[in-house]
C-alpha cells in the first residue's frame, strides 16, 4: 500500500464515522430526508463561499455552506407551518429551488470559477490526498483529513456531552420538555451538526453520497438492534467497513471510489435486510407464515370445542366446515397432533386435556379483548411452533 492509498482509506473511514453518528439520530427522528435536502441545498452556499475564498477547503466556505443547510431546515419548517403543504412536499420544494440557484450561479460565472456541479455532487476521493495542508511550511497531511478529523472530534465531543439530552429528546419530546431540555435547541443543534458534516464530507465523497453515508449505516444498524449505544457503534462499524471495502472494490474495478463505497453500503444493507434475525425480510416472512398457521390452529381448536357431537368432528367434515385447502388442513392437524392438543380416534377428532385447557384460555383472552396475551401463552403450551 502506498501512502496516498492509506490516506484515502483513512479519509473515507473518518468521513464514514463522522456521518454515521448524526445519521443515527436523523433516522431515529424520522428526518433522514433532511440530510438529502441539506446535501443539495448547500450548493449555493458553497458557490458563494468559493467566490469569496477561492478555496474549496476553506473553513469560511464550510461555515457559509453549513449556514445554507440550516437555512434550508428553517425554510422547510416555515413552509410547513403555513399548513399549505405537508412536510415532505415542503422539503421537495425547497431543495431543488436552492440547488437550481447554485447551478445557475456556477453557470453564469463559469469563466472565472473553477468549480463544476459534478465535482460538488459527486466528489472525488482519489484526488483528496493531493490537497496538502502546509503548516509553517511543513506538510502535515491531506487537508480534507484534517477537516473531517476535526469535525469528527467535535461530533464525538458533542455526543458525549449531550448523549442523555439527545436520547431523551429523540425518543420522548414531551418528557424532554418537562425535564427542561429544549427539544428545539436539540433539533437545531443536530441540524447544524448535520449541515457541517455534509459540507465537510461533500468534497471527499460528493453531496449525494453523503446521504448514503448518513442513512445507510444507521438503517442497517437499526435492523439489528434497538439499543441506542449499540446502534451507534454498529453504524460506525458498518460505515468504516464499507468505506474500506468500497475503496478496494473501486481499486479493482477502476471506478469511482464514492460510488463503490455506496454500493458496498447497499450490499451490506441488502444482506442485513434479508437475513437480520427477527427484523430481516426472511425472518419477518417466516414469522408471518408461522403466525398464520397458529391462528388457523386456534380457529381449529375453537371449532372443535364447539362441537360435542361425534359426527360433527369427523376429519373430512372439519375440512369442509372451516373451508381450508387440503394442504392447509393437513398442516394444522399435524401441528395440533405434534403439540398433543388433539387426538384422532377412528377419524374422529377430539380435544385432549391440554387442548381443552389451551382453548379455554385462548377463548377467554379473545372474549375479554386481551389478544396480546395469546402470544406469550403459546410459549407455555407449544412444543412445536407453526
Amino acid at each position: 500500500m502506498t501512502s496516498p492509498q492509506i490516506e484515502i482509506q483513512l479519509i473515507a473511514a473518518v468521513v464514514a464515522m463522522a456521518c454515521a453518528i448524526p445519521g443515527v439520530f436523523l433516522v431515529l427522528r424520522k428526518m433522514a430526508l433532511i440530510s438529502d435536502a441539506i446535501s443539495h441545498s448547500i450548493l449555493p452556499g458553497i458557490v458563494l463561499g468559493f467566490f469569496i475564498t477561492h478555496d474549496l477547503n476553506s473553513p469560511l466556505l464550510i461555515l457559509l455552506a453549513a449556514c445554507t443547510g440550516v437555512i434550508t431546515v428553517v425554510l422547510v419548517e416555515a413552509i410547513q407551518k403555513t399548513g399549505l403543504v405537508k412536510e415532505d412536499t415542503a422539503i421537495g420544494l425547497v431543495f431543488p429551488a436552492l440547488f437550481s440557484i447554485g447551478v445557475i450561479l456556477i453557470a453564469k460565472n463559469a469563466n472565472d470559477v473553477h468549480l463544476d456541479v459534478d465535482a460538488v455532487l459527486l466528489g472525488e476521493l482519489a484526488f483528496a490526498p493531493f490537497d496538502r495542508l502546509l503548516m509553517g511550511g511543513v506538510d502535515v497531511g491531506p487537508k480534507s483529513l484534517w477537516i473531517m478529523g476535526s469535525i469528527f472530534i467535535v461530533i464525538i465531543a458533542l455526543l458525549l456531552l449531550f448523549y442523555k439530552e439527545l436520547k431523551v429528546s429523540t425518543f420522548d419530546i414531551g418528557l424532554s420538555s418537562a425535564l427542561g431540555i429544549s427539544p428545539m435547541l436539540m433539533h437545531y443543534g443536530l441540524m447544524s451538526v448535520s449541515s457541517v458534516t455534509v459540507v465537510g464530507a461533500f468534497d471527499a465523497v460528493g453531496a449525494i453520497l453523503v446521504v448514503a453515508m448518513m442513512i445507510a449505516p444507521a438503517a442497517t444498524a437499526y435492523l439489528l438492534t434497538a439499543d441506542l449505544k449499540k446502534m451507534l457503534l454498529l453504524s460506525i462499524f458498518f460505515g468504516v467497513f464499507s468505506a474500506i471495502a468500497g475503496y478496494w472494490m473501486a481499486n479493482l474495478l477502476d471506478a469511482s471510489i464514492s460510488g463503490s463505497i455506496t454500493t458496498m453500503l447497499g450490499m451490506v444493507f441488502l444482506m442485513v435486510y434479508l437475513f437480520a434475525p427477527r427484523k430481516g425480510l426472511i425472518a419477518v416472512l417466516y414469522r408471518q407464515k408461522q403466525q398464520r398457521t397458529e391462528v388457523s390452529l386456534i380457529t381449529f381448536l375453537l371449532h372443535l370445542n364447539n362441537h360435542t357431537e361425534e359426527n360433527e368432528r369427523h376429519i373430512n367434515h372439519l375440512q369442509e366446515h372451516i373451508n381450508w385447502q387440503k394442504v392447509r388442513s393437513k398442516t394444522v392437524v399435524t401441528l395440533a397432533l405434534k403439540n398433543n392438543m388433539i387426538e384422532i380416534d377412528n377419524k374422529v377428532v377430539s380435544l385432549t386435556e391440554k387442548g381443552k385447557e389451551f382453548t379455554d384460555l385462548a377463548l377467554e383472552y379473545i372474549i375479554t379483548n386481551k389478544d396480546e396475551k395469546i402470544e406469550p401463552m403459546k410459549d407455555d403450551f407449544f412444543l412445536f411452533r407453526g
Binding site: 433516522v27 424520522k30 428526518m31 433522514a32 430526508l33 440530510s35 438529502d36 413552509i79 403555513t82 399549505l84 403543504v85 405537508k86 415532505d88 412536499t89 422539503i91 421537495g92 420544494l93 431543488p96 429551488a97 440547488f99 437550481s100 440557484i101 447551478v103 445557475i104 453557470a107 453564469k108 463559469a110 456541479v117 459534478d118 455532487l121 459527486l122 460528493g206 449525494i208 453520497l209 446521504v211 448514503a212 448518513m214 442513512i215 445507510a216 444507521a218 438503517a219 437499526y222 435492523l223 473501486a250 474495478l253 477502476d254 471506478a255 469511482s256 464514492s258 460510488g259 463503490s260 463505497i261 455506496t262 454500493t263 453500503l265 447497499g266 444493507f269 435486510y273 419477518v284 416472512l285
Partner: protein, 374 residues
C-alpha cells in the same frame, strides 16, 4: 437573443420548437401525475425514483451498447420501478420509516449508478459520451422522436386517468373504503405508481435526476392552493407545468450559459411562491387580511359591549355620554368610533356619543348564536 426574439423564432426554428414543445408536454404530464404524488403524501417518491433510475440507464447501456434514448429510458423505468417496490418492501416488512427507506434507495441506487457510469467511462472504445446528461438534463438534446414519445405517453396516461378516474380518486381519499367496496386496491395503486415512475423517467433527459422531483411537485403544490377539487387541481397543475416548461426554456434560451432544467425549476418555484401568497382561498396574504379583519371586528364588538354596559344602566338607551368616559378602556380610537357610527350602532355629536336602538340590539345579542349576521 431577447425573450421577444425567442417567441418570434419559436415558429420558424426547428430546435427551439422541439425543445419548447418537449418541455411543455413534460411539464403538463408531470403536473398531472404529480398531483397524485402530492395528495398521496408521496412527494419525495419522485426524488427517490429519479435517483434510482440512474443505474438502469447505465445497465441498459452496458447491455445494449446503444445510446438510443428509448432503450436507456426503458432501463431507467425498470430500475425506477425496482426502487419503488423495494421502498415499499422496506416500509411494509421492516420497522424502518418512509423517510429512511426513501433516503436509502435514493442514495444507494444513485451510488451504484455512479459506480457503473465511471466503470463505463473507463471502458475502451465505448461511445459513452452523453450518458451524464441524465444527471443534470439537457433539454437541448431533445429531438422530435423524444417529443413524440412524450406526447404518446401523455396521451396514454390521460386515457388511463379518465378510464380509472373514479378508482384513482376514491383510492386517493379513502383507501380503506375502496377496499371494502371490493376494488383491487393493489392493482390501482400499482397502476398510478407506474405512471408516476413513467413521468419521472421521461423527464430525466430534460431536467435531470436531481431536479426531477421539483418538476413533479411544484406545479401540483401550486395548483393545490387554488382549488379543492381534484379534477380542477390536475388541470391547473398541468397548465402550471406546461407554462413553467415554456417560460423556463424561453429564459434559458435568451441568456448565455443558462441550463434549461434549473431555470424551469425556478420558474415552477415562482409559481408555487405566487400561489402560496396570492391564492384567494388558502393564500397567506388573504389569510392575513382575513385574520386582521376578524380581529378588527372583534375589537369593534368589544367596544360596543363596553358601551352597552354603560348604556344599560340608564333608562334611555340613547342618552348621550362623553367620549371621555371610554378612556379607561383602551380598545377604541377615533376611527373605530367612526366605524361604529357607519354601522349605525351609535351616533356621534361633538364629544358625545349615544347608542342607537340597532346598536343596543346588536350588543344585547352579541353572544347569542341565534343572532343573524347583518
Amino acid at each position: 437573443m431577447t425573450i421577444t426574439d425567442y417567441f418570434n423564432l419559436l415558429w420558424t426554428d426547428y430546435t427551439l420548437r422541439t425543445i419548447t414543445l418537449g418541455t411543455a408536454v413534460l411539464g403538463a404530464i408531470c403536473g398531472m401525475l404529480g398531483s397524485f404524488a402530492v395528495l398521496r403524501k408521496q412527494s419525495l417518491l419522485g426524488d427517490a425514483i429519479s435517483h434510482a433510475a440512474l443505474p438502469g440507464i447505465a445497465v441498459a447501456f452496458l447491455i445494449t451498447g446503444a445510446k438510443d434514448s428509448n432503450t436507456l429510458l426503458l432501463g431507467a423505468l425498470v430500475s425506477g420501478l425496482l426502487g419503488t417496490f423495494w421502498i415499499r418492501g422496506i416500509i411494509t416488512k421492516t420497522h424502518l420509516k418512509t423517510d429512511t427507506a426513501l433516503g436509502l434507495i435514493l442514495s444507494l441506487f444513485f451510488g451504484f449508478g455512479m459506480l457503473l457510469l465511471t466503470f463505463i467511462q473507463k471502458q475502451p472504445n465505448a461511445n459513452q459520451a452523453g450518458l451524464d446528461k441524465y444527471l443534470f438534463g439537457q433539454a437541448a438534446t431533445l429531438v422530435e422522436s423524444d417529443v413524440i414519445l412524450m406526447v404518446v405517453v401523455t396521451g396514454i396516461s390521460l386515457l388511463i386517468l379518465l378510464l380509472f378516474w373514479k378508482e384513482f380518486k376514491i383510492l386517493l381519499f379513502d383507501a380503506d373504503y375502496t377496499k371494502t367496496l371490493g376494488f383491487n386496491t393493489k392493482f390501482i395503486d400499482t397502476l398510478i405508481t407506474f405512471f408516476i415512475v413513467l413521468a419521472i423517467v421521461l423527464g430525466l433527459q430534460t431536467v435531470g435526476v436531481v431536479l426531477m422531483s421539483a418538476m413533479l411537485l411544484a406545479p401540483a403544490a401550486a395548483a393545490r392552493q387554488w382549488t379543492n377539487r381534484l379534477s380542477t387541481m390536475i388541470f391547473i397543475a398541468a397548465i402550471f407545468g406546461a407554462f413553467s416548461g415554456v417560460f423556463g426554456t424561453a429564459i434559458s434560451a435568451s441568456q448565455n450559459n443558462l441550463s434549461t432544467g434549473p431555470v424551469i425549476v425556478l420558474v415552477a418555484s415562482v409559481f408555487v411562491l405566487v400561489s402560496f401568497v396570492f391564492s384567494p382561498g388558502r393564500g397567506l396574504l388573504f389569510k392575513q387580511i382575513r385574520f386582521l379583519q376578524n380581529r378588527r371586528d372583534l375589537k369593534l364588538q368589544k367596544t360596543l359591549q363596553f358601551m352597552y354596559d354603560i348604556v344599560s344602566t340608564h333608562d334611555n338607551i340613547s342618552h348621550p355620554h362623553a367620549i371621555r368616559i371610554l378612556n379607561n378602556f383602551q380598545g377604541f380610537t377615533k376611527k373605530t368610533l367612526q366605524q361604529l357610527e357607519e354601522k349605525k350602532w351609535i351616533t356621534l355629536s361633538g364629544q358625545q356619543w349615544s347608542m342607537t336602538q340597532k346598536g343596543f340590539n346588536k350588543a344585547e345579542n352579541l353572544y347569542n348564536q341565534s343572532d343573524t349576521n347583518d
